[in-house]
């Protein structure tokens, strides 16, 4: 739901501290004192909650978050037997398969273009990055109520009118053909592309200029060849990190789906565009079935972990540059 703090793209060259293991107690004490509040907070507010949720997923917990009414795997059985949940998993898989490559390509493309600018680089960098500072909720509401509103005065409908399409289109409400995806995908692209562009830009600026010079001397004239043989391979670690973040973010999609598709008093939206987190929100907070809600959270977590591992396997996450 919230974006994780951006990890710095790995810059290679592992630095290993010299193995001085002298008993430096004061330094240790300082380390503990400084990190303890953070670790304690993390432990108390995250790990205890996660552990509790895990136990709760084996309980019949309706209208309560107390343990005690153990029902084994019943919650998992209920979830996986519910076509609405399996459909939400398919929805999020398709969404991920689409949004990850598209954001990746757009962010990389923008980064390369911005990097090649001779003047105004800071201006464009900032311009493209600004949407990342907008909250998903605000972005979603602008998209829903202004750009893609179903009234004739909505921006998209005004454009359609100019193009000769006179009937106003209910963008969010139309599921066949699934026009609501246009709204959902464009808002996410607008919100997140700039952030990943900055990551790529940072990666590109780490590439030594000599490499390009040397390649030019060797006769690599076209930009495409320079990109293919220098920029792209040198960006591998950044790319892997970006894909990883994109996948995690895509799987946790909630904010824009919730705000665009649901009408906040009448509960949540319909079957279309219901992501796993929306489904779980509905199960846990709408129907007060906290056991099934927790079980679902773990199913989604397992999926994210599996995808991350798979992606790491193919892209070689964690291998150092020298090995690759």
């Amino acid at each position: 739901m919230t974006t994780a703090a951006p990890p710095r793209p790995a810059t290679g060259r592992p630095r290993r501290a010299p193995g001085r293991r002298a008993a430096r107690w004061p330094a240790w004490r300082a380390f503990l004192l400084l990190t303890l509040p953070m670790v304690a907070g993390l432990f108390l507010f995250k790990y205890v909650a996660i552990g509790w949720g895990f136990l709760l997923s084996f309980n019949d917990a309706r209208g309560t978050i107390a343990l005690g009414d153990w029902n084994g795997l019943e919650n998992y059985r209920r979830l996986l037997g519910d076509p609405a949940f399996t459909r939400s998993l398919v929805t999020i898989l398709l969404f991920t398969l689409f949004i990850v490559p598209v954001t990746f390509a757009l962010a990389l493309g923008l980064a390369v273009l911005v990097n090649r600018l001779r003047g105004g680089r800071a201006f464009f960098r900032t311009t493209f990055f600004i949407p990342a500072a907008v909250s998903y909720v605000v972005g979603a509401l602008v998209w829903k109520m202004s750009l893609f509103s179903g009234t004739p005065s909505g921006v998209a409908n005004s454009l359609a009118y100019l193009l000769g399409y006179e009937e106003s289109i209910g963008w969010v409400a139309t599921v066949d053909p699934p026009l609501y995806w246009i709204v959902l995908v464009t808002v996410r692209l607008w919100l997140q592309t700039g952030f990943y562009m900055i990551l790529f830009l940072a990666g590109i600026q780490q590439i030594p200029a000599q490499l390009y010079e040397a390649a030019r001397v060797d006769g690599a004239e076209s930009e495409a060849r320079l990109f293919r043989h220098i920029t792209w391979p040198m960006l591998r670690n950044t790319s892997v990190a970006v894909v990883l973040l994109l996948i995690i973010n895509a799987f946790q999609a909630f904010d824009e789906f919730y705000n665009i598709l649901a009408s906040n008093l009448s509960g949540l939206g319909g079957a279309d565009g219901r992501t796993p987190l929306i489904y779980l929100f509905q199960t846990a907070l709408g129907e007060q079935n906290y056991g099934a809600g927790s079980a679902g959270a773990f199913v989604v977590t397992v999926l994210i972990v599996v995808f991350t591992l798979l992606q790491g396997r193919f892209a070689g996450f964690g291998r150092s540059e020298e090995e690759g």
Binding site: P37, D82, F148, G150, T151, A173, L265, A271, L285, Q288
Partner: protein
């Protein structure tokens, strides 16, 4: 400063700072509340918290706070803190009542057996007292489990179809008497930038439930799911035809409970509640009226959906007796406040029969039309039609109406799931 800050001093300081921040963050109560009234009279021994969802009409929040302050004046020992919760109210109270710091008194639409079992509500028979007989039994029924009533109704909100009289006259359309006429009217009133009907931003809204009702099937009958039925298939097929005709407004800036679309002429008919009448009168004068959703066909019934809000007392409240006393004082005895709440802002029907009978504002104009429709056709949603039970049905409705799914098969599958979920609801 006498001495420079040492590293140790800095560490100590930062730890203290973090600890302090954590403690103060924990003790800031009610981070969700948009506006809260400070409890009047600092001498109070008990402070009750009372949650409302955000009513749209101006002045309602001030009124709620005034009632609370009046109560404290009469009972100096008990202060009441009113919290006005904007946005998605339901998910906020469901989370809050899990903790010991949940609201003592709050309002809801439904009371399910699960809520009773979890102690999120408490029996209110002693709160209703002798006045129980004065409450509309139809309204009390869905809140009664195992012979005990778990809520005090605050307001009854009938929902039905409102329309613009001038637009009807211009298009030569009369008040429809069957669903076919209703759909034809919606088509005929769709002209240029105006749509015939607004029932919700998804284009289907409450029709998925109300049209089968009007064809004589309430979808659920006590502990049996009944919507796997040719009558429901017939009704939903008709809703699909209406949807396909593009006569319904979709994706408007406000949803069906706000009369904006009707006022601005974006739609000629709208599914909305009695509460909208003052706003509509102010904007349109007498250029509007209402009618019950007509019977689907021969053998059907006209439908007015009787929604509303009820007050419940949190069974886990530390001040159970004080909370009950407050609810009795405000929502049972204090008829002046009830009348003010029901009639001075948006219009609602006071749940006490004696108060409803005296509600003169509901005896003129469109409000009178609504009241007559309620008397003749009011239907209260069955109590066990909970969010969980109806989810497979609403998904089926979307699939049938919007995606050409086979109605019979889809409903049969959904009904099986709904029945499964219903069977797990505890019997009280």
């Amino acid at each position: 400063m006498h001495r420079p800050l040492t590293r140790r001093g800095l560490l100590k300081g930062s730890v203290l700072f973090v600890a302090g921040a954590a403690v103060s963050a924990c003790s800031t109560g009610d981070p969700l509340a948009k506006g809260t009234a400070a409890p009047a009279g600092s001498g109070a021994k008990i402070t009750l918290t009372h949650w409302y969802h955000e009513y749209g009409e101006e002045g309602t929040q001030q009124a709620a706070m005034k009632y609370a302050a009046d109560f404290t004046k009469a009972n100096p020992d008990i202060a009441v803190k009113v919290s006005w919760i904007p946005g998605d109210y339901a998910t906020k109270w469901t989370a809050a009542v899990l903790t010991p710091d949940g609201p003592d008194v709050y309002e809801v639409n439904d009371v399910s057996p699960n809520m009773v079992k979890a102690g999120q509500v408490t029996a209110m028979d002693d709160v209703l007292g002798a006045e129980k007989a004065d409450f509309n039994p139809k309204v009390l029924a869905p809140y009664t489990w195992g012979g005990q009533v778990y809520a005090v109704p605050m307001i009854v909100d009938p929902m039905l179809v409102f329309y613009r009289k001038s637009l009807f006259a211009k298009a030569g359309v009369g008040v429809p008497t069957s669903f076919a006429e209703f759909a034809a009217a919606a088509r005929k009133l769709t002209q240029g930038k105006q749509k015939g009907l607004f029932v919700g931003n998804d284009g289907v809204g409450p029709l998925g439930q109300m049209v089968p009702w009007s064809n004589g099937n309430l979808l659920i009958d006590d502990r049996d799911i009944t919507y796997d039925d040719p009558k429901v298939v017939e009704a939903l097929t008709a809703v699909k035809d209406l949807y396909d005709a593009k006569a319904t407004l979709q994706g408007y800036s406000t949803d069906w409970w706000d009369p904006g679309a009707l006022i601005n002429g974006a739609a000629a008919m709208q599914w909305v509640g009695l509460w909208a009448v003052p706003g509509l009168t102010e904007a349109l004068g007498d250029d509007f009226d209402a009618f019950a959703l007509p019977p689907f066909g021969p053998g059907g019934q006209a439908v007015v959906n009787m929604g509303g809000w009820v007050q419940v007392v949190n069974g886990k409240s530390r001040n159970l007796e004080a909370a009950k006393k407050y609810v009795r004082w405000l929502w049972v005895e204090n008829t002046a406040a009830q009348t003010d709440w029901s009639l001075a802002y948006g219009f609602h029907i006071p749940p006490r029969n004696s108060a409803a009978a005296k509600a003169d504002k509901l005896n003129t104009g469109p409000a009178k039309t609504v009241m007559d429709a309620v008397a003749a056709h009011g239907i209260k949603q069955p109590a066990l039609w909970t969010a969980e039970v109806r989810q497979p049905y609403t998904d089926a409705v979307t699939a049938i109406v919007k995606k050409d799914a086979d109605a019979e098969k889809t409903l049969a599958e959904a009904a099986e799931r709904s029945q499964d979920i219903l069977d797990k609801v505890p019997v009280l």
